[in-house]
């Protein structure tokens, strides 16, 4: 597609369940970011992938959060044993060689 694609766009899950959020970056973009945004707030950095380098995981809030990027393209953010405080919009972005970053529309996660 033309832009960064995220799925699902909305997810309601029960506390304690695991969820997977998917990000399809723009083709050819080597850098990929995951951020979390609570309602009306700024963006909280979660994890950053750059090419074949080891990802920067410094923003992951707990060991319940993990992410992988397969084949240098699609990325999956996994949240295990979800808690109510995990409710937020999870935004994925990819960056081109010119350092321009493009965001997807986000995955809205609600933990009930």
């Amino acid at each position: 597609g033309a832009g960064v694609s995220q799925s699902p766009s909305n997810k309601v899950t029960e506390k304690g369940k695991d969820v997977e959020l998917r990000c399809d970056p723009i083709s050819g973009h080597t850098a990929l970011y995951w951020y979390r945004q609570s309602l009306g707030q700024g963006l909280e950095f979660l994890i950053y992938f750059q090419g074949n380098s080891a990802p920067d995981k410094s923003g992951l809030p707990s060991d319940r959060f993990s992410a992988e990027r397969t084949g240098g393209s699609v990325s999956t953010l996994t949240i295990q044993r979800t808690q109510q405080e995990d409710s937020a919009v999870y935004l994925c972005a990819s960056r081109n060689a010119g350092n321009t970053i493009y965001f997807g529309e986000g995955s809205w996660l609600t933990v009930v």
Partner: protein, 112 residues
């Protein structure tokens, strides 16, 4: 500790007024970007500034990067209702292989 502080946090003005949003940090950034985000969408890049003292204009928007590359401002002239949104500054440290740190955000509402 928030690396990038924005002020004001909220701003409600009438069409035609001018406004300035500030983005401040004690850290030095190699580049700084400004984004605008509308409800239900991901942030959209407005501008990137990389040189201390740099000024960039985008129609009615003027962006300035501080001489020491620690702060930035966004000035909007003759605001219009279409300018309404969440404005986010974001800084990158080091080279391109680096995460992007977002500011706390400024929510702007422009009314008729």
């Amino acid at each position: 500790t928030q690396l990038l502080e924005q002020s004001p946090q909220f701003l409600s003005i009438q069409e035609g007024e001018n406004l300035t949003v500030y983005c401040n940090s004690s850290s030095v950034f190699s580049s700084l970007q400004w984004y605008r985000q509308e409800p239900g969408e991901g942030p959209v890049l407005l501008v990137t500034v990389v040189t201390g003292g740099e000024v960039k204009k985008l129609k009615r928007l003027t962006f300035q990067f501080g001489d020491a590359r620690k702060d930035s401002s966004l000035h909007i002239t003759a605001a219009q209702p279409g300018d309404t949104g969440l404005y986010l500054c974001a800084g990158m440290m080091g080279g391109t292989a680096s995460k992007l740190t977002f500011g706390t955000g400024t929510r702007l509402q422009v009314t008729l």
